[in-house]
Symmetry: C2
Subunit: 253 residues, 2 copies
DNA sequence: CGCGATTTTGAGAGCCGTCAAGATACGTGG
DNA sequence: CCACGTATCTTGACGGCTCTCAAAATCGCG
């Protein structure tokens, strides 16, 4: 546990059945029985500030998490100072399974904003599969979705040019924000820096900046004050060769 | 189903309990009950030849697969002729969940050699979770492992130089082959071409070739006649900054 | 033996990285 | 409310890793 992480043990502020996220239509309805189990599966709720780490590569974290509020990102580091942001995490995302069900984490997760997370007891995961097969199914479903997103990300980093990558990333983020009703038109708040974008896309900071400027000059996007606006969604999708894939109804643990 | 795929319906050549893969120590032992269920879950066994597709991006494939023999690779294509190989599939790998539990596949899978695959009934997947929670757990476990491998791949493509990427890929393949006892010393058979390596690593064919030659001249590796040999494992691991992570005992569906 | 697939090599260009420095935004303390 | 320091963003210059184009050499297979 890193500093900057405050625990609200016992308070259990958000009761699962009253979880505000569940009102969103992207999340499938849960039965009272399921909610009751999730309520017992959840052992805590934590708040972390921007820049503070939630899971550290190489550590054995006994917990699993669901993002309740805020942004986070998963990343992997090389021994020198290079790092790859593997993906961004949004409210409703289930964290801690990627890479390893048990054992040392293979990636780090860091909060990008103030974030609230539900903490689940990893050692009860087997009980979850055992007593609630439908929830077990959901866990697998979420893991598959998560891998699909990384696959798409890998396609972008491996094959697309700098401007195509940025176009892809912004559209991807826009789509995910939209599903969570976090957009205003084609605008969404991006709490990261250009360095985060560079690290996510395998680009240098300088080249990311120059590409961003050029795309803005071309009337494709606007970037400023932590807000990203997609000005010409059609041209951007054409540039990125990217179609939305993430509007599916999904479970929320 | 593409041509080149021959079906051995009814013959059910390999009985699960007699599956030769299960003798390998990387795969955890299954109970008779589990084996009995898997036997019913398995509806067929197919053989596909090199270059033939097993799953096509965008298609609704009602099946899930376990590779029994041979190599395959998952890839995603852009509208032009660019494509990204997202990963290679080995005997024991469970295919069809990546990206989507149900609905259109988000990637294609193609055989690299003659391959044998077990075919499972996707519509029985829920029954699997319901009647055999331990197997459901295994499915989630495999999905998490699979994502971890893609994460590592993304780190390589996003952050590593050409020679580092090749070093990483060869070590990764060597480790996976070793777990399946498909190596001879530090040598393994690689049934792909340099174009496959290029597509997997986000490099051009020409640059892949030149880098390969340079690495061979430096005494790091040898490449020829579909065989890859790691000559200096230590220097190679140092170059790639890569440690084996895939020797864990895992389930085999 | 001949043809297609694959590998190899060379030349030249360009996208993107690094270095460097200045400009702007932002949080903090006075 | 201003001063100041730090983080972030911007811009320019330059270099190089990697790409594309092109063609020759080799391999694999019928």
């Amino acid at each position: 546990m890193s500093d900057g992480m405050s625990t609200k043990a016992g308070s259990r502020k958000t009761a699962c059945k009253a979880c505000p996220l569940r009102k969103l239509s992207v999340f499938r309805a849960f039965t009272p029985t399921e909610l009751e189990f999730i309520g017992r599966f959840k052992i805590n709720e934590i708040h972390v500030g921007p820049g503070h780490s939630i899971i550290q590569e190489g550590s054995e974290d006994p917990s699993l998490y669901t993002v309740l509020e805020g942004w986070a990102f998963r990343h992997k580091a090389l021994p020198d100072d290079r790092r790859q942001i593997v993906g961004f995490s949004f409210p409703g995302d289930f964290l801690g399974l990627q890479g390893q069900v048990f054992g040392a984490a293979q990636h780090s997760i860091e909060a990008l904003t103030n974030a609230k997370l539900c903490v689940f007891n990893r050692s009860k995961l087997w009980e979850l599969f055992n007593s609630h097969p439908d929830l077990g199914f959901d866990v697998a479903w979420l893991a598959a979705r998560s891998e699909g997103i990384v696959d798409e990300h890998l396609l972008a980093v491996g094959q697309r040019s700098a401007s195509e990558r940025i176009a892809y990333l912004f559209l991807h983020l826009l789509d995910r924000c939209r599903a969570l009703e976090m957009t205003k038109g084609d605008r969404f708040e991006f709490p990261g820096t250009q360095q985060h974008i560079a690290d996510a896309l395998g680009l240098s900071l300088v080249h990311t900046n120059k590409t961003l400027r050029r795309m803005q000059a071309n009337g494709l996007i606007r970037w400023g004050h932590s807000v990203v606006e997609v000005l010409d969604q059609q041209r951007l999708r054409q540039l990125a060769h990217y179609e939305e894939i993430d509007a599916r109804v999904r479970p929320l643990l």
